[in-house]
Amino acid sequence: MGFIVYFLAKGLEISSPIAFSALGGVYSERAGVVNIALEGIMGVTALTLVWGAITFQSIWVGLLVAILTGVLVSLIHAVVTVTFRVDHVVSGVAINVFGIGLSRFLCQSFFGAETQSKINPYLFPKLLGVNSLAFWLIPAVFIGWFVLYRTVFGLRLRSVGENPEAADTLGVNVTAMRYAGVLISGALCGIASATLFADKWITGMVAGRGFIALAAVIFGRWDPLGAVLASLLFGYADTFRIVFESRLPIPSQFVQMFPYVLAVVVLAGLVGKSRAPAWDGRNYEKGED
């Protein structure tokens, strides 16, 4: 019984980085901006989390710093795509590259070493043996769902991703909504990275979770609840691997592959084309015929 509880809790912890960033991805794409830079943003926020925690001797300040960093880096993506109307994927790739470089540079500046930070002793309290921040996912899902579907803001955000021209004529500020979607995804990346490994930053620690989050967004049909459930699927599959790795007759590397293969299988197997917001990834220019 104790083991089951541990498994459930551990799975939640392992799923949260994916889930939080997927939740952010939903907001960004619902507003019409594809954000493949979640990975790069998380890399930077994970670093500033550790720095903030050590410098201010509080993990909560570290969390705040991480969120702010996420907002700032995603702001670049927002400016480049919404204001300069660059292709979303190109910008996302550029930010990923920039993020990797920036995190290394900051690590070297803060800690003197390029590839890993000092150890951060200020951590979130543990609950049921795992990082308690992970449990925030539960209220986060509901808040995410509620804001998107039950508030004026959420309705307008969704309208912009669906038909920016119509939204514009109805008085919705398309630019503001798109910025908001992207910045929210940045902030959530900050939280996501705090549920990863808050004790130390190592280069490459995000290990593709930002991209799995994107797969979760698609699999979850751009819905907060769906995306988080999909993230849990990936996360628990990974937990299964970690827990049973040594006992399986399969070589560990194949088990390691599992979440990624699962993502491909899931995407390939989706029946019909799932429906992204109609203007997801397309730039909108007022008055452009």
Partner: protein, 510 residues
């Protein structure tokens, strides 16, 4: 005399090369349905865009309920009570009717949507105006007629008193159209005013209180419904302008090149766009297809030129069934196509004119050698020849296509498709957006193709163009050819009437 809701006086709007609205005066009274009738390009859309704030008039005044206003944009228009139901709906398909109506004007408690209040507001608007739609249904699940009602409710929700409908029945079934006219009556009985833009003369006579006819940017006449007949309106719409007659060498049409039998094509929305159409085009003949846009012409053209979305029926080229042919095969067998949207389909804008002139033949000699290398010299020489021949104004053949004016871009597309020496040329709106000089030139080239024995299928919204060029005209209406005219028989008024679904010699007293 009922109150005047809206008055436009001496509205003038010019674009480079054309006067879209020429001292247009128009008024709308409370409680009336006022129909605005005219051909494509007559100026109706521009006028409405001015009213709705999308354009500014060069001169003239707009008054709403007696006070002069300046409409700065759609949001400004609606705040003054001017609402527009567009031909292409501005809806959010996956959202509910309720959401579609309230976005931008939501009821809320500190940011949280107050669904109950919203529902009550919408329901009261529906009751007030006698228009009902299931409030919680997703818009994409609704029939088109109901979707249109959502659009109407949107503007009523925002206090519209003047409702403009732009070709509202273009996408409706006959039953839905009847429903719409009942809605008009409901609206006007509540003191609202309806401006009804349409081509369909039946509808005008069925529902309008007053009729204003616009032609070439000017108001021809405004009249009361009483005593008006369809032929009267048609004649006012179409007038008797001086035709730009192209020289027509006498010609015996040859063998049948294209034969279309019982073709059915579905539109993206799933409606039957082409509904069992049959016609044929012979060598050395120009067959024109006349019709109001939206009667299946686009789908017909795409089916012949690219083979898309064919549900049933046959398209035979010199007797061979083309249904399974790829685009490449169609071109190899001599079908070329001047697309109706040259920017979307016809030109690779960043590439040079020379390269664009080879599209469709780029993989054949002389442009590509047997080793599959590109023969730049042949491309350039051919381009220079074509540019000279067609008088395409460009600094050089290496200029990128996006640097050319619209008229020269179109000339390039026409030149390319003709230079490929086709058996069948499918020309869709070949002179759309093209200045007079280029238009005359293109017409001469199409005539030349005819003289050389090619078969030409000409689809155009420009009736003058069709009348002047076609050996035969087929009028397309609701996806079928309902009447054919020979060149001699084709009289403007008759063809115009047929285009609106009317029959010859029909007289209907008011």
């Amino acid at each position: 005399m009922a109150d005047t809701l809206l008055e436009l006086r001496e509205i003038t709007k010019q674009f480079p090369g054309v006067i879209a609205n020429d001292h247009v005066s128009f008024d709308l009274r409370a409680g009336e349905v006022h129909a605005l009738v005219g051909e494509n390009g007559a100026g109706k859309t521009t006028l409405m865009k001015i009213l709705y704030g999308l354009y500014r008039p060069d001169s003239g005044t707009i008054s709403v309920e007696g006070s002069a206003v300046s409409v700065r944009g759609p949001r400004d228009a609606i705040s003054r009570g001017i609402g527009m139901v567009h031909q292409h709906f501005m809806l959010f398909p996956p959202f509910s009717v309720l959401e579609n109506i309230v976005i931008g004007e939501e009821s809320h408690h500190a940011g949280v949507l107050a669904t109950g209040t919203q529902r009550a507001r919408v329901q009261s608007i529906m009751q007030e105006n006698g228009i009902t739609v299931p409030v919680d249904a997703r818009v994409e699940e609704l029939a088109v007629g109901l979707q249109q009602r959502v659009e109407i409710l949107k503007i009523l929700f925002r206090g519209a008193k003047i409702l403009i409908f732009d070709e509202p029945t273009a996408v409706l079934t006959p039953q839905e159209s009847a429903e719409l006219f009942r809605t008009f009556r409901a609206l006007t009985s509540h003191g609202k005013g309806v401006i009804f833009i349409t081509h369909k003369l039946d509808e005008v006579l069925a529902v309008a209180d007053r009729i204003t006819v616009i032609r070439q940017g000017k108001v021809v006449r405004t009249m009361d419904r009483a005593g008006v007949t369809k032929p009267m309106i048609a004649e006012l719409m179409v007038g008797k302008p001086v035709l730009m007659e192209v020289e027509r060498p006498a010609r015996e049409a040859g063998a049948t090149v294209l034969e279309v039998r019982d073709l059915k094509v579905r539109s993206p929305r799933g409606l039957a766009a082409v509904d069992g159409i049959s016609f044929s085009v012979k060598a050395g003949e120009i067959y024109g297809i006349a019709g109001v846009e939206g009667n299946g012409q686009s789908e017909l053209v795409h089916a012949i030129a690219e083979g898309v979305e064919i549900e049933s029926g046959e398209i035979l080229l010199d007797g061979s069934d083309t249904r399974k042919w790829s685009v490449r095969k169609r071109r190899e067998n001599g079908i070329t196509h001047i697309p109706e949207d040259r920017l979307k389909y016809g030109l690779l804008l960043p590439f040079s004119i020379a390269t664009n002139l080879t599209l469709g033949r780029h993989d054949k000699p002389p442009f590509a050698t047997r080793l599959q290398t590109v023969n730049q010299r042949a491309i350039r020489e051919s381009a220079r020849r074509i540019i000279r021949q067609f008088d395409i104004r460009t600094p050089s053949e290496n200029t990128p296509a996006n640097a050319l004016s619209g008229g020269n871009q179109q000339k390039a597309v026409v030149a390319r498709e003709l230079a490929a020496d086709p058996r069948l040329l499918v020309a869709s709106q070949p002179t759309r957006g093209v200045d007079i000089g280029a238009t005359e030139f293109i017409h001469r080239q199409i005539m030349k193709a005819r003289t050389e024995g090619k078969a030409v299928l000409l689809v155009s919204a420009d009736l003058d163009e069709l009348l002047s060029l076609s050996d035969r005209i087929g009028v397309i209406f609701k996806g079928r050819i309902i009447r054919e005219f020979t060149h001699a028989e084709a009289v403007r008024e008759e063809v115009g009437l047929a285009m609106t679904g009317g029959k010859a010699g029909e007289e209907r007293a008011g």
